[in-house]
């Protein structure tokens, strides 16, 4: 039943692709799928492992910059650069999971905030590879059989990636690793006492989530064609967190629902770009105060 919901939400943006010759709508559909992928990855950490990773956008950014550089400077094909970017992101994510060994709750979130800020500054500060604040423009679309992937197919491809990501998280959570992660989230000390390898399991969750962040980041770079430090700053991490929280953390459908609702919002008020920050900020406060379980806790209460 829940899988049906997830499939329904995943396939909903595809409707947008039939809207005809409307560039903006297909663009938003692609972004929705990318955010679904990223939010599912963040949910693996926040929802299932109970850690708020404010470093998430930074990790996605590392993969995006590596992938774009390999394609533009080294002339690699996107399909070879993508795995390199993802693995680099996953390794960095694994290194950044180091604070999680000692820090808990608030202090872990704070350390994530610090690392995220350092990463954003680093993106600005090494212009040789990132072109500083201006960002890298005209990143080419991936090429299949000699042709750049055209509009509806690229979005569908991203949709497939999002489906694989969400499905992977769902399968992982049904396996033994998933129950172990949830057990650690609920009572870490008890798990330690029972002989569960807490640190190793957390690091594994970090590795996998960072892999998804890397995939999302690299696809974002080549889908939008433009990356800048602003695209991977702390607000982006915060808003990915918001997508998970709005949908319902610790569920497979939650982040998909959150990404579906929140991604198109800024484009509704395109003339007033500053309104996006006000709306997202207000949504964060509203979710924390009124809806700690997310929309999931209302809509699917009966089937849960």
């Amino acid at each position: 039943m829940k899988d049906l919901h997830a499939l329904l939400i995943l396939s909903f943006p595809v409707l947008g692709l039939f809207a005809g010759d409307h560039g903006l709508v297909t663009f938003i559909v692609g972004l929705v799928f990318i955010n679904m992928l990223l939010a599912s990855g963040l949910n693996l950490l926040y929802g299932f492992s109970g850690l708020i990773p404010f470093t998430f956008a930074g990790i996605a950014g590392i993969s995006a910059y590596i992938c774009a550089n390999l394609v533009i400077r080294a002339g690699w094909a996107f399909w070879f650069a993508l795995p390199i970017g993802c693995i680099a992101a996953a390794v960095v994510g694994l290194l950044l999971s180091f604070p999680a060994i000692r820090l808990r709750g608030f202090y872990f979130a704070l350390s994530g905030l610090v690392i995220q800020s350092a990463l954003t500054i680093a993106f600005v500060y090494f212009p040789a590879y990132t072109n500083g604040d201006t960002g890298i423009t005209s990143i080419p679309k991936p090429v299949v059989a000699g042709m750049p992937v055209a509009s509806p197919w690229f979005e569908l491809l991203i949709g497939a990636a999002a489906a694989i990501g969400a499905g992977g998280v769902a399968l992982l959570m049904r396996s033994r690793i998933g129950s172990t992660l949830i057990a650690i989230r609920e009572d870490e000390d008890l798990c330690r006492a029972l002989g569960i390898a807490v640190t190793a399991n957390r690091c594994l969750a970090f590795f996998l989530a960072s892999l998804m962040a890397g995939l999302g980041g690299a696809i974002y770079a080549h889908f939008v064609g433009f990356i800048s430090p602003r695209g991977f700053d702390v607000l982006v991490s915060l808003n990915l967190w918001l997508m998970v929280a709005v949908g319902g953390r610790g569920t497979v459908t939650g982040p998909l629902l959150g990404a579906l609702i929140l991604t198109p919002l800024p484009y509704v008020f395109q003339q007033y770009s500053w309104l996006k920050d006000v709306i997202y900020g207000a949504a964060i406060i509203a979710v924390v105060i009124f809806l700690p379980g997310g929309l999931q806790s209302i809509t699917f209460r009966k089937s849960a």
Binding site: I52, R102, L103, F106, A109, V234, L238, V278, V288
Partner: protein, 292 residues
């Protein structure tokens, strides 16, 4: 030789000035977090908002300083109490409220930064306020704008007054009792919720004064809110939440680091250093250097 002297003097003066302003804003943040366990991530935006409001009142509306400054302080304090009554007060009883407050205030900070760029951002990119004093003072080899001298003196005075209040006044002492031990303070008949409100109002007012002084000494732009949030969080964590003395010492160290680094290289390196210091401190001693 003369060049060296001028350079050293300018590093000392600019380090002292920026360090005391950091210390003032960080002291406000530290008071709030030390008492309520609320890491006020929108404090930097309040700091920026005070500077922007001062600019609006003085240069745009033409108010004299003696009405503009109280008006700014009144506006920020009123704002923080409205937020307290509708948002913050809901979580006073939660044991692990720090993380909730961090997320909430990050949301608030995002709202503020959206509002600023939608209002002030439409008018200008940079904002400079006419300082109350003009001209240059010659402190032996190096010239120094009087406005910066005034900002430094005022910031130092605010910090001294704050330390004296916390040490000697009865209400200040009850604040410190809550920093040290919440439960015992409550058992001794201290009303913790009113102490929380006092700390929130006082901390916000102090940070707001920091914003006003910063506006006198420097030109503000809209990114300074986030930068100040980061730097003051680093100062608070390294110095120890709740410790004004810690905020003062670490603020000065950070200010001097920034002044010295700016001579040789990009000041961004100084920011890396603050963030690294904060990260190391989180690992080895999350309570900070100046708290027991």
């Amino acid at each position: 030789m003369q060049d060296y002297l001028v350079l050293t003097a300018s590093v000392i003066t600019s380090g002292l000035l920026i360090g005391t302003i950091y210390a003032v804003v960080a002291a406000g943040l530290s008071l709030i977090h030390g008492t309520i366990l609320m890491p006020q991530a929108s404090n930097g935006q309040i700091f920026l908002g005070s500077g922007l409001l001062l600019w609006l009142f003085t240069t745009q509306l033409g108010w004299p300083l003696w009405t503009a400054i109280p008006a700014v302080l009144l506006a920020t304090i009123a704002l923080i109490f409205i937020l307290e009554s509708i948002i913050f007060s809901r979580f006073y009883q939660n044991a692990d409220r720090s993380i909730t407050y961090l997320v909430l205030t990050l949301g608030l900070a995002q709202i503020f930064s959206g509002l600023y760029s939608g209002t002030f951002g439409k008018i200008s990119d940079t904002f400079s306020v006419d300082p109350p004093v003009r001209g240059l003072a010659f402190l032996e080899p190096t010239p120094l704008p009087n406005a910066r001298l005034l900002a430094f003196a005022a910031a130092a005075a605010v910090l001294c007054a704050l330390i004296a209040f916390l040490r000697f006044h009865r209400v200040g002492r009850s604040l410190r009792a809550v920093f040290q031990n919440r439960e015992v303070a409550r058992l001794r008949g201290i009303n913790t919720v009113s102490v929380y409100r006092l700390a929130l109002g006082l901390g916000t007012a102090v940070s707001s004064v920091g914003g006003i002084l910063y506006a006198f000494a420097f030109t503000i732009d809209l990114t300074v809110g986030w930068t100040m949030t980061l730097i003051t969080f680093a100062i608070m964590i390294v110095g120890g939440p709740g410790s004004v003395l810690g905020a003062l010492c670490i603020g000065l160290i950070f200010g001097f680091t920034q002044a010295i680094v700016s001579v040789f290289a990009d000041p961004t390196i100084a920011t890396f250093a603050y963030l690294l210091a904060m990260l190391i401190m989180l690992f080895i001693r999350p309570n900070g250097l100046f708290t027991r």
